[in-house]
Point group: C2
């Protein structure tokens, strides 16, 4: 039934047509020397002070497995663009190159390579589209979710957004990216199964609507799930809270409802009102969970207004990264056949050659990065690490999801507090170009312009 996404034999077709036409030309021209491509983000959106790198595991899975199956080759043959020699080349296509990357869950900034591919030119070129598709999207979501988790100041945040994320793959991987970035659980059952993310959920308005009365619905649901969360805003929120109190009176010692959920209206005022009603009834242990069009700014405002909210369900705005649904990502050739390459297009120029990012810390806090040539020693901790050689993933390149999540926790702890703030920085985090790289860039510009 999911013929459109079960792409095993077709995985290699998840690319732009021009990759394949360029490949045929490269193969015909014998241009199969080693090419180096950098995947990076040119500029950060105004509303992002940092990015959280994400997507590497899918990249490595893809590079290890990318093949052209018989169906894929037949489809390409039918396009009338490709000769038999090239189709034969594709039939034997394997990715044989090496990859260096920053670990998932690493903080990255503008122009810093998130990953670097070194491979025979056709191989490095073909994989561009898939690598960007995964790293771009997952980094978009992780970077947004990190802000949401930060705004909640340690309170529980649950991903509720599968229904409005952009398709199935987005639904699954947004849950994963959000979890890496500090979100605690997801409502997405399949993401729970595939990635081992804790799954959780409450109840929907339809459950209340389907019953003859709200109290009846609460009573029935608590019977099935004693420690559940009851949704109280289907008709009138504070009346709904009073029905929870009524249920507690009826059940006495059998009342174990963990929390109520508010999903509409003025959440801060309703949370204060609900807290008052619950406390007055002695239900001080019943928490308040809030959801409904939330994002990091709304959470921060709710907490600033003193809303007694214990946890947040966040969906759409987080997983589609509503204020910045895309990044200015790029995958650019920086070296071919041992020579640095760069593009001069207006506002899109690139940094040539194999590079490394060095991060300097003082007192446990990052104070600035230097993007330098790979062999340029500028001090600081190098962020790019080898993760794949000769087309095979290195043993250290498969951290568990919880290891990745902890890595982001450590990264976050080492970022300057100003960078973590929700508001744009007046002085962005300092990124310098190493002197060797700057000299190489200037030399290339002169040679290209001359």
């Amino acid at each position: 039934m999911f013929k459109d996404i079960s792409v095993s034999g077709d995985a290699a077709l998840l690319t732009d047509l021009y990759q394949l036409t360029m490949l045929q030309a490269y193969v015909a021209e014998g241009m199969t020397d080693t090419a180096v491509f950098d995947l990076f983000v040119r500029r950060l959106p105004e509303s992002r002070n940092y990015l959280v790198a994400c997507g590497l595991q899918d990249v490595l899975d893809y590079l290890e497995g990318v093949r052209f199956g018989p169906d894929a080759l037949a489809y390409l043959d039918a396009q009338g663009l490709f000769g038999q020699a090239f189709l034969d080349y594709l039939a034997g296509f394997r990715f044989s190159g090496e990859v260096r990357a920053v670990p998932e869950g690493t903080a990255v900034f503008a122009n810093e390579p998130i990953l670097e591919v070194s491979a025979p030119l056709p191989e490095a070129q073909l994989v561009e589209t898939f690598l960007l598709n995964q790293v771009h999207f997952q980094t978009v979501v992780a970077s947004k979710a990190a802000r949401v988790a930060w705004a909640a100041q340690g309170r529980t945040v649950v991903d509720f957004g599968l229904r409005r994320y952009h398709g199935i793959d987005a639904g699954l991987k947004a849950a994963r990216a959000s979890y890496i970035a500090g979100v605690h659980a997801t409502s997405d059952v399949l993401a729970g199964k595939l990635y081992g993310i804790p799954i959780t959920g409450t109840m929907a308005h339809s459950y209340v609507l389907a019953h003859d009365s709200e109290l009846d619905a609460f009573s029935r649901f608590a019977e099935c799930y004693p420690e559940t969360v009851l949704l109280v805003d289907t008709y009138d929120t504070l009346e709904g809270v009073r029905k929870v109190v009524e249920l507690a009176r009826r059940l006495g010692g059998d009342f174990h409802v963990r929390a109520i959920r508010l999903d509409s209206g003025d959440l801060a005022a309703l949370a204060i009102g609900a807290r008052g009603i619950l406390d007055e009834a002695g239900l001080t242990g019943v928490g308040i969970f809030a959801s409904g069009d939330l994002d990091e700014h709304r959470i921060a405002t709710l907490l600033a207004r003193g809303a007694p909210i214990n946890g947040f369900g966040v969906g759409t705005r987080m997983g589609v990264s509503a204020d910045a649904p895309y990044l200015n990502s790029a995958y650019k050739l920086v070296s071919y056949a041992g020579r640095g390459r760069m593009k001069l297009s207006a506002a899109k120029s690139t940094l040539p050659g194999r590079k490394q990012v060095f991060r300097t810390t003082q007192g446990g806090r990052a104070v600035g990065d230097v993007i330098a040539l790979d062999d340029e020693s500028t001090g600081g901790r190098p962020l790019l690490r080898p993760v794949m050689e000769a087309g095979s993933r290195l043993p250290n390149a498969s951290p568990t999801l919880d290891e990745v999540r902890r890595h982001w926790e450590e990264e976050r702890a080492a970022l300057p507090p100003s960078v973590l703030c929700l508001e744009p920085l007046d002085d962005p985090y300092p990124i310098e170009i190493g002197p060797g790289l700057a000299a190489e860039r200037d030399r290339l510009i002169r040679s290209l312009s001359g």
Copy 2:
């Protein structure tokens, strides 16, 4: 390698956990009477005057095939939330209900049901998450792409965005949704194979960078693909155009290059400059193709400035619907056991009962819609049609992709020109509530509030 998206046996887990906990409660309570749910969009974003319904084919595929495989059941069992009786129920789960829907490619407006599911309550509830995930996202993209295609005023528009769409499923289905909405082709090879969308492509900057000179790159590529499109902005755009002229001089009658592509800088000024250089060289048949951060507004501005551009490559901003990456979509219980249901939550109230949308036209143009009870005769063309009965797709519910695309063409031709404009309307397209539906709503409000 795509274990995370090959979900055949796991398809039913593409849902929110609360659907399953509610299902268990419904089954335990014997609440399996017929429920009716509407899928609709509550409010249109400010930057949308209409929506283009999309996603129905995937909904029908899913409803016909949704199953809980052994792995899925084992995972659910391990959660400690579900009893054996319910797991047995899930093992035999099939969707047995009926669906009415507006055809894909139909213009829809706020609060109009895009589809309606009638089924035993647990079945209708479980499928909410997947139905929203697909219809929401695909409608988001089709509605954006329709604006892009409209702005191009008949010029070719090609989807270039796979690399920045939100994952694999988004990459494929955004290509499909864009094609339905009037885009002409895609660069996405797998979307071409799966959906039969024409695929096309040009060349990348990396191809130019990998060669020793731009002219060499052009010459080599045109040798492989005589009727290709050459990308001229890698170093200096107008110099690049002059190299195309130089190539034409060298090749003489063997020069068949179809167009040049501009991908950066002031596209209007560069297109005018490039047109001048090409025309002066007698290359009047060589077209100009433009790309780079385009959307409907930028295309309209380019054309208003008189830019001689023959086609547009549009990616990121279209397929992520950058200005409105989500809609206020909902899937709400409107009837259970033959009784209308509605939610009163602030700003989220719903319309009860089985409904129909009637569209009135005058002189071939739509002049207004009425949302009415299903059996309320208000005149006008009914938009919702039966597409599935007893869990099986009806014969008329599988139009070809090109039929869907033509349906949108007809719909577009029948919309008032003001609705098609890019700017928000002062007077939105008129949507009325039929008198019978209004009376039923008021009656329910009184009974719920009383």
